[in-house]
């Protein structure tokens, strides 16, 4: 908040992303699908390549030079993650393959051994399948119940209803920081405060939070925070589970193998300390190196700067879309980040996606891995444009012009 906003044009950032500098179907690419996966800056691509060329070896197990370099690079990235989200300690940063694995880890290691029939897991109607299905699985395994907090027609969590649902039978709350399909920023402060009063742990699905907002897990006060490297301009196959140390300590490992042990005998295995207890097997070392480079890159710009730049661009996009005749915006929450879902006339979102692609404009179409949310709105899918800080007003203008073409074709 206090940080000065850099008065730099987005064009300067855009040039850092090689993939954005290309034509698709003969037109300069307009990439509006960062919520599905973000592009990587040259700094990330180069860091991964340099690591592969010069430093690669296995981590945590060699005395030789390359292994030490690889370990330093890998563990150095963990330190960067810690600082980036302001975790209290590096032991609270578990590196995973993504948000999905992080949430499954909590469901299986934290919840499964403790859940009893009658207990509840509380989520919202806005969630991505990754924050629904792992809870359904553990509920099936334990006889617990999945409870869903409702949302209103604007796509906002009905906070009063959600707070009412937080009773003593709730074992854990899972909630998105930012909803991927609608861009809604969820009322984390209120939910976490109420949960804390009752001692209920909260897992935040931060897959769409971290790329757009300045995240401080201690200030948020959540117990778990999960996110993916590839949505924050890093490589695929990387992700993070932040967990409060006390909780992580109390959890059994969820996968067994190398790296997660101190000592193995056939009678008894002693598990490694945090966070290695949860990192069985050779990790995605080069990916994590790239994740570290992505964090360096983002820190240099400053997440507060990114958030305020994107907010203004998002407002511009909404205003411009609203001018398009026949548009129906899905998701009109007061607090939004990055994404806007919409429908145009009665054109199916898939047809819209193809027509826009033909004009070089990449958007996501379909159910956005949030089928219950789509059902809530009586839709099978939407078109979704999602912004990152490398987008600019020209991109929005191109989107709007492309929608005009779609109207012509389907006129």
């Amino acid at each position: 908040m206090g940080a000065p906003v850099r008065t730099i044009a987005a064009a300067d950032w855009r040039a850092d992303f090689p993939a954005l500098n290309q034509s698709v179907h003969g037109q300069p690419l307009v990439y509006l699908d960062s919520a599905a996966s973000a592009q990587q800056p040259g700094a990330v691509i180069d860091a991964v390549a340099r690591y592969q060329r010069e430093d690669h070896a296995n981590v945590h197990r060699g005395v030789h030079t390359l292994s030490q370099r690889a370990t330093e690079a890998y563990e150095g990235a963990r330190d960067k993650v810690r600082e980036f989200i302001n975790a209290g300690s590096r032991t609270e940063v578990v590196l995973t393959s993504g948000t999905t694995e992080a949430i499954n880890l909590v469901a299986q290691s934290f919840c499964r051994p403790r859940l009893a029939p009658g207990d509840k897991i509380l989520i919202t109607h806005l969630e991505h399948h990754a924050n629904i299905v792992p809870w359904q699985l553990v509920c099936e395994q334990t006889g617990a119940e999945l409870v869903v907090a409702p949302i209103n027609d604007k796509g906002e969590v009905e906070l009063d209803r959600m707070l009412e649902l937080i009773d003593d039978k709730v074992f854990l709350i899972g909630i998105a920081h930012v909803a991927n399909a609608l861009g809604t920023v969820c009322p984390l402060d209120e939910v976490i405060e109420q949960a804390r009063q009752r001692g209920i742990p909260v897992l935040v699905d931060g897959a769409q939070g971290v790329p757009h907002l300045d995240v401080d897990v201690q200030a948020l006060g959540c117990d778990f925070y999960a996110f993916s490297g590839h949505k924050m301009f890093g490589p695929t196959g990387t992700g993070v589970l932040y967990g409060r140390e006390e909780l992580l300590e109390s959890m059994p490992p969820w996968q067994g193998g190398g790296d997660m042990i101190l000592e193995v005998s056939f009678e008894k295995t002693i598990y490694n300390e945090l966070p290695y207890k949860f990192e069985a097997g050779t990790p995605n070392i080069s990916g994590v190196v790239g994740l570290g480079a992505a964090i360096d890159y983002l820190q240099a710009i400053g997440m507060a700067n990114i958030a305020s730049y994107e907010q203004e661009l998002h407002d511009y996009m909404v205003a411009e879309l609203q001018k398009v005749e026949g548009i129906r915006l899905i998701g009109e929450a007061r607090h939004k980040a990055s994404a806007q879902s919409f429908l145009l006339d009665d054109i199916h979102s898939h047809d819209l996606g193809t027509i826009l692609d033909h004009q070089g404009v990449a958007i996501r179409t379909g159910h956005h891995c949030a089928m219950p949310l789509m059902q809530r709105f009586g839709l099978s899918g939407t078109a979704r444009a999602s912004l990152a800080f490398y987008n600019n007003r020209d991109d929005v203008d191109r989107l709007v012009a492309a929608l005009g073409k779609a109207k012509e074709i389907f006129a």
């Binding site: 179907h25 979102s349 193809t354 099978s380 899918g381 074709i409 389907f410």
Partner: protein, 154 residues
């Protein structure tokens, strides 16, 4: 005309747009002898196909309901036009021919009742959309086989 507009008109030919806007045989068929659901898990589109097959093994009537993109609705609509009146065995063969043709096999000659399906040829340029065009045909095959599980494009 720009290249974009031309390409797009190749995909969204008049006949496709017409069938998607005004699908033929749309709705439930009350005395159906065969039904099947087709699901495209990628986009969540769903359609249900109904057939009434008479004792002689001819498809007396057919219909479909559900929602989908212009390509999948047009394909379903064209399907019901094409198979109504056909012996079951011939309809089965149509499923195979259409699938081959949409997959890009030019030698898969369309019988006269399938002539109109040429309108869907444009889809071959769009690998991600071929499934939209084949969905109804997958459903036709499972309806004829009395499959219990919905047909999917995956």
């Amino acid at each position: 005309m720009t290249a974009t507009a031309r390409d797009m008109q190749d995909l969204y030919r008049e006949l496709v747009l017409d069938h998607s806007r005004n699908p033929r045989h749309f709705g439930r068929l009350e005395d159906a002898t065969h039904t099947a659901d087709g699901i495209n898990p990628l986009c969540g589109d769903k359609l249900r196909l109904y057939l009434r097959v008479d004792d002689a093994g001819n498809i007396e009537s057919s219909s479909f309901e559900g929602s989908g993109c212009a390509i999948s609705v047009a394909s379903a609509s064209l399907l019901t036009d094409a198979v109504t009146g056909l012996p079951v065995e011939q309809a089965r063969r149509c499923c195979a021919t259409v699938a081959e043709r949409l997959a890009g096999d030019e030698s898969a000659e369309l019988a006269s009742n399938l002539e109109k399906l040429r309108a869907l040829d444009g889809v071959r340029q769009y690998p991600s959309r071929i499934k939209c065009a084949t969905l109804a045909w997958h459903a036709l095959r499972s309806a004829l086989n009395h499959d219990a599980v919905p047909a999917t494009t995956e």
